[in-house]
């Protein structure tokens, strides 16, 4: 068995504040002042009095990551937002350089992230296929050979000589995907967290990934969706704050992640650097689980109602907003999905929200949960417009079932919910 990817002591350091200054361009003035002070810094460094800023303004997005992956294996990568998953993929696909350590990669790395990169609206479908293929590193002959196949796959057929600016968004995406899908890289990296497009398109991505894996190619799969990770991978690594903390067969790694990666306090607070700039103007602040008395708890009682509150900040007014949650079991099965403006009247009143700080609060009724650990994902989106923010694994909590229906029998009840049903028993004969 040959090794497809070998990662040794990989580290990536970012300058803190990069996220904040991203949209506020550095001024040349800063660099001029910096240049003037450069000899001072150099002198300080030479006498061993290191400048404070060089030590404190950096954060390690990845630190001391080492692992090998054999050819033909599918590896899942799980971890919270900001754990370093995307940074790892970016280094593997050579978009950014590591700060320390080495990686050797055997073969071409393709990612479904790059769908449509370099597409120009004024060029025709045919021209864009060649352009995009070249950007992805395909040779011209290779594109010629696969051209018909790509056109067929994309289903744009007769429009192939029309500028893509006249395409519907669906056609555009299909064509873009067709090129990426025919790249046939030896190693495929899929970052589902960042995947664009609708559910159907994401399904297509996952389907493609499965095909690739079946052909004996190597796949790296990043997702927050534990059921997808469980279904598609045999082995997984867990990243936490830039460190690799576990590598194990997938079910074991997922259990480990769900059980340990959580803040066990009934409250999850988002730090500034955990939230991607992409989610603007939506900024999650915190999510809390409260019991009936109002106390923030990690363990709730099945026989009592549970209050879930999601606090967030809007930097600008948003229309059509819905903020909601996914409830999942430990094993990644959905229990339900609900949004704060599900009620039509509520949507009329709060669909358009002014900038400011908000709390969306709901009560999950008593006699609902079964025994065990559940996790809550949050989502803020304007339907059909944009998904601002999503964390499929925002917080988890325990459910204590003492007093719940059927607890007189010490047995495990199947199913994620444990409702108190209104049984009537009558003697009919």
């Amino acid at each position: 068995m040959t090794t497809a990817i070998s990662v040794n002591n990989l580290g990536k350091r970012y300058q803190i504040g990069a996220a904040e200054t991203k949209f506020r361009y550095n001024m040349l003035r800063d660099v001029l002042v910096d240049t003037v002070y450069a000899p001072v810094r150099l002198a300080k460094a030479l006498v061993g009095k290191s400048d404070r800023r060089t030590n404190q303004n950096f954060i390690w997005a990845l630190k001391d990551i080492s692992f090998d992956l054999d050819e033909g294996k599918v590896l899942g990568i799980v971890g919270r937002n900001g754990a370093g998953k995307s940074t790892l993929l970016k280094i593997l696909s050579r978009v950014t350089e590591p700060t320390t350590g080495t990686v050797s990669v055997r073969g071409r790395v393709g990612s479904l992230l790059e769908v449509g990169t370099g597409f120009h609206p004024e060029l025709t479908g045919r021209e864009n296929i060649y352009m995009n293929g070249a950007i992805l590193g395909m040779k011209r002959g290779e594109i010629d050979k696969k051209f018909d196949e790509m056109v067929e796959f994309s289903e744009v057929g007769q429009f192939i000589d029309t500028p893509v600016k006249r395409y519907s968004s669906g056609m555009y995406l299909r064509l873009a995907f067709a090129v990426a899908a025919h790249l046939e890289p030896e190693i495929l990296v899929v970052d589902e967290v960042l995947a664009v497009g609708d559910a159907e398109f994401q399904k297509k991505c996952l389907g493609k990934m499965n095909d690739v894996a079946q052909q004996g190619r190597t796949v790296l799969f990043v997702s927050h969706n534990m059921s997808a990770i469980l279904r598609l991978t045999q082995e997984a690594i867990v990243l936490n704050k830039g460190k690799l903390i576990k590598r194990a067969p997938t079910p074991e790694a997922v259990d480990f992640y769900l059980a340990s990666g959580q803040a066990e306090s009934g409250e999850r607070v988002w730090e500034v650097d955990e939230v991607s700039a992409m989610s603007a103007p939506f900024k999650p602040v915190a999510i809390r689980i409260r019991e009936r008395s109002g106390k923030v708890v990690d363990t709730v009682r099945s026989t009592e109602p549970v209050m879930v509150e999601f606090e967030y900040h809007l930097d600008a007014p948003v229309t059509g907003l819905r903020v909601g949650m996914y409830l999942n079991t430990m094993r990644g099965e959905y229990v339900f999905t609900a949004f704060d403006t599900d009620d039509a009247k509520q949507f009329e009143q709060f669909g358009a929200r002014a900038a400011g700080r908000y709390i969306s609060r709901c009560e999950i009724p008593a006699d609902f949960f079964n025994e065990g650990r559940y996790y809550l994902g949050v989502n803020a989106s304007s339907f059909g417009v944009k998904r601002y923010f999503m964390d499929e694994n925002a917080i988890s909590f325990n459910v204590d079932i003492s007093g719940a229906p059927g607890t007189q029998w010490p047995e495990l009840r199947q199913g994620p919910i444990r409702p108190r049903l209104n049984w009537k028993i009558e003697k009919v004969d």
Partner: protein
């Protein structure tokens, strides 16, 4: 998938590049087709959805030449060594046009393609390079006009045209690419470049002997003047095409030296900044 292309996968080593990184020309060679496609795309897209299309490549230099002829030729009566002013200025506008495209398109090339830079790997050098090469298409069109002008004014080309002109074209490309490398890499981090470009272009135009002859610069100012590499390029064009002005000599070597210095330092600066492009763009 009907068939899997069988080729021996090559192993890529990813590691931090330290200091003045090797230029990695091998990757540039592997991606040579991309340069072609980028140039092709730039040319193709440039005049899309315009009424006059490729005619713009003719209109722009011709209009500039007409304005210069009126202001400097007829009103100010600038000395031109006996060459009709339209030909005199057009011979200089040729390399200047190439340089201007490189300055403006090349410097913005990385930022303009930031979605490519943040999503996929390719040698980043390709972006400023293809911007400069795309300028060559306009250059060829303008060159045809110049030949027409020379016929019209019955000016015989200088005898050394054939073997010296390619050298000066190359020098123009080297100068343009060198400046584009510096500015595009700085622009990734400091968008001040965007602000400075219009001013820089105008300023550079005035310190280059396009509207006037370089012979009016005298004595001690001469070497300072030729620190502008474009001064050497423009002088060289006039000398090669029309046989006038300052030919090869110390001033030209100063300009050529500066061009090569900008190009080489630009390459190293670009390469050393390349690793952070995706993070800072």
């Amino acid at each position: 998938m009907s068939e899997i292309v069988k080729h021996q996968p090559t192993t890529i080593y990813i590691k931090p590049t330290k200091g003045l990184a090797a230029l990695n020309l091998r990757d540039l060679w592997v991606y040579r087709e991309l340069v072609f496609f980028m140039v092709w795309r730039d040319v193709k897209v440039k005049y899309k959805q315009t009424l006059l299309g490729m005619a713009w490549a003719v209109i722009q230099p011709v209009m500039t030449m007409l304005v210069f002829t009126f202001v400097f030729g007829s009103v100010a009566k600038v000395a031109t060594d006996g060459i009709p002013y339209p030909v005199f200025s057009f011979a200089a506008l040729l390399p200047w046009g190439l340089f201007e495209v490189a300055l403006n398109q090349g410097s913005r090339s990385l930022v303009a393609h930031n979605n490519m830079v943040t999503k996929i790997y390719f040698p980043r050098l390709i972006l400023p390079m293809s911007s400069v090469f795309a300028g060559l298409v306009d250059f060829v069109i303008a060159f045809v006009i110049l030949i027409g002008l020379m016929f019209y004014y019955k000016i015989a080309p200088a005898y050394n045209l054939l073997w010296t002109l390619p050298f000066f074209i190359l020098l123009a490309i080297v100068t343009a690419l060198g400046v584009a490398l510096w500015l595009s890499a700085i622009n990734v981090r400091y968008r001040d470049v965007n602000q400075a470009l219009p001013f820089l272009t105008r300023f550079w135009l005035f310190v280059t002997p396009i509207a006037y002859s370089s012979e009016i610069i005298s004595g001690k100012w001469q070497y300072l003047y030729y620190l502008n590499p474009m001064a050497g390029v423009v002088d060289g064009f006039r000398w090669a095409l029309l046989g006038t002005g300052i030919g090869p000599g110390p001033t030209l070597w100063v300009s050529t030296g500066i061009s090569i210095l900008i190009m080489i330092s630009g390459l190293f600066y670009f390469r050393s900044m390349e690793k952070t492009f995706a993070d800072t763009i």
